[in-house]
């Protein structure tokens, strides 16, 4: 029998029992839609959390937090990190163990001072909103909010009293010279004062809650501070930058093998992905129960179809239809119920998903009232249906439909021709 004729055959059969077939398809659709929508919540949660993680950090950044043996990272070791394949840059920031205050005229403010390798910072993607990279050791880069934090005594009092002050240093700091006073946290040493000129200002941080008052000084100053202030060993922050996100995992592994504590986006996403994979698998299993319930309907419908058509099946066999063909026709019919149900379920699920993503955040926001405003830039996805979920659900529902059609189809092949032909019309 040609495939087209087989399709015509089952189409004709399904038409003859429109209502029964339609309700069975409806049940199959509901089961499959339930599965997709339930699992889509897992995918949505993962998407939301992943977006948050990726949004809050530079994805190619790998933080080397220290050595597993407790030793501090040496300059030679930092040098070796440059040699790892696909490493674009290694920034090495050392913060002096001292309070750092910048002073210009009658204004002053605490800054987060660090000595850095300017060349590596630039390679790592340091962006300026104004000015240029330093060309001499006396030139520095300042954070975007550096100027804003330079306050007069009067203003500082107001701030302490909880009042708003606007401005800080007015005008551009580019080319301005200021004093940096470093007071060691510990020890008896007097504070030291140095003068620096502002060469460039970093770009505005991506998040409006970050206040950037860093001060990046050329690392030729590190030994100077160290010696003159007799500082304890300083805190070192080493960040390795991969040339591409796909190499982050490899570099992370290499660094781990070398005995460093490493922290990168792949690490974080890795453990997160494990959790979400388990969650999604769990939701799919629960959703499959709905599909299984719907399959009872398919089993019933097909069993009735076989019983009703016993005589016709007998005639088919008598005039030369092979048992295999009979089985195939019935399996195709239950598969058709599964396929139509799945297609409808996918459409319905996308509809429900879009509706949920639009409606639920609105409800959350309004129930949070004004507190919800802070959530403004957090985008919540209630439900995400990736094509993989559609494929998995389709395989499950169509597979289950065919399995439930299996017994009735077998039964059809075993119909005894003589008995069937004896049936009354």
């Amino acid at each position: 029998m040609q495939f087209k004729d087989q399709l015509d055959f089952i189409k004709q059969h399904m038409k003859r029992n429109k209502l029964r077939v339609a309700t069975t398809i409806l049940a199959a659709m509901m089961g499959c839609a339930f599965l997709i929508i339930l699992a889509s919540v897992g995918f949505g949660m993962q998407q939301t959390v992943t977006d948050q993680v990726l949004d809050n950090q530079i994805v190619t950044e790998i933080e080397v937090a220290g050595r597993e043996d407790g030793d501090s990272i040496t300059d030679q070791e930092v040098e070796a990190m440059h040699q790892i394949a696909h490493v674009k840059a290694v920034t090495d920031r050392t913060s002096p163990n001292a309070d750092a205050v910048a002073k210009i005229g009658d204004r002053s403010g605490f800054v987060a001072a660090a000595t850095v390798d300017m060349e590596q910072e630039q390679k790592a993607g340091l962006k300026l909103s104004e000015g240029k990279m330093p060309s001499s050791a006396n030139e520095v880069i300042i954070g975007y909010h550096f100027a804003q934090n330079l306050l007069t005594e009067e203003e500082r009092k107001k701030v302490d009293d909880g009042e708003e002050v606007s401005g800080g240093f007015a005008g551009s700091l580019i080319g301005q010279t200021f004093q940096l006073e470093l007071t060691p946290y510990e020890g008896e040493t007097e504070a030291g004062v140095w003068e620096f000129t502002v060469a460039g200002i970093k770009e505005e941080p991506g998040k409006d809650w970050i206040s950037d008052n860093t001060l990046l000084i050329d690392d030729s100053w590190a030994p100077v501070f160290q010696e003159e202030l007799a500082l304890e060993e300083s805190g070192r922050q080493v960040l390795v930058y991969a040339d591409d996100l796909q190499n982050v995992a490899d570099i992370t592994q290499t660094l781990k093998d070398k005995g460093y504590y490493v922290y990168s986006v792949t690490e974080e996403l890795g453990s997160m992905n494990m959790f979400f994979t388990a969650l999604k698998a769990g939701l799919i299993v629960v959703g499959t129960v709905a599909v299984l319930i719907a399959s009872i309907g398919i089993f019933n419908t097909m069993t009735m179809a076989v019983t009703e058509r016993t005589r016709e099946i007998g005639v088919m066999k008598a005039i030369g239809a092979k048992p295999k063909l009979i089985q195939k026709l019935f399996l195709m019919e239950s598969a058709a119920i599964g396929i139509i149900g799945t297609v409808l379920a996918v459409l319905v699920s996308y509809g429900v998903s879009i509706l949920a993503n639009w409606l639920v955040p609105k409800i959350i926001m309004s129930s949070l009232g004004e507190d919800g405003e802070g959530m403004g830039d957090v985008s919540i996805l209630i439900s995400v249906i990736p094509w993989q979920l559609v494929v998995i659900s389709a395989i499950i529902s169509i597979g289950v439909a065919m399995i439930s059609g299996w017994r009735p189809a077998r039964k059809a092949t075993q119909i005894d021709v003589i008995q069937a032909l004896r049936q009354e019309l």
Partner: protein, 232 residues
């Protein structure tokens, strides 16, 4: 064409514990030549249908052999039997056994569909056959819109559509009035003469038996040659 040798069959009736053996065929031997019409008569319950069912491969006999075109049907697997039936037999049943959901045309077309013929070949063949049995005007009718005689013509057209050499008929006129019966018998005769088709017809009706070249009577599980009343 057909060689039946020493065919035996016994039915077991009743529950396992007190089952009763009913021997229905006790060594039946029959030869049917190509182009012959053979009629098998017998009382109700004498085993005529059983003989035909074994011949058609619908059931397996207890012992004995059935050769159709020198092929032993009893030893075939189900799938082979189906192919063999499609190629060698056409069936005409007492109650026509048409598909209620298909039109006359589609009913005749069905064996060709099962065979996997193309639409083009099917259309031509079915149209020609419907004309031959005189049903070209009711091709679009469903079985419940046809008279008994018309339905039996559809069933004959369906039996002929795959060009089988042998036609097996179990009481082909059993559900028809005598006038319609004559029409069908004439059709069978003309098909036999024009196409050289072989017929094995089961009947308890002497009118039907009279179109046969040879008649047999199934009695007490054995086949005895019957005397012919009229020459054809």
């Amino acid at each position: 064409m057909i060689e039946i040798q020493n065919l035996r069959h016994t039915f077991a009736i009743g529950k396992k514990e007190h089952e009763r053996k009913v021997p229905v065929l006790k060594g039946v031997t029959l030869d049917v030549q190509k182009g012959e019409i053979v009629a098998i008569l017998g009382k109700s319950g004498s085993g005529k249908s059983t003989l035909l069912h074994i011949l058609a491969g619908f059931m397996t006999p207890e012992s004995g052999s059935v050769l159709v075109n020198t092929k032993e049907t009893a030893k075939m697997k189900e799938e082979e039997k189906a192919d063999f039936r499609l190629a060698n037999f056409g069936f005409i049943f007492q109650n026509f056994q048409l598909m209620p959901g298909l039109t006359a045309f589609e009913n005749v077309e069905l064996p060709l569909k099962i065979k996997g013929e193309t639409v083009k070949k099917r259309q031509a063949k079915v149209r020609a056959l419907l004309e031959k049995v005189g049903l070209q005007d009711v091709a679009d009718h469903y079985p419940n819109e046809l008279s008994g005689g018309q339905q039996q013509r559809v069933s004959i057209a369906r039996a002929l559509v795959t060009d089988p050499p042998i036609l097996l008929a179990d009481e082909p006129t059993g559900s028809l009035d005598s006038e319609t019966e004559q029409d069908i018998l004439m059709l069978i005769q003309s098909l036999n003469q024009s196409l050289g088709l072989t017929f094995v017809i089961i009947t308890h009706d002497d009118e039907v038996a009279n179109v046969a070249h040879r008649q047999y009577r199934l009695h007490d599980g054995e086949l005895v040659k019957g005397e012919k009343r009229h020459a054809i």
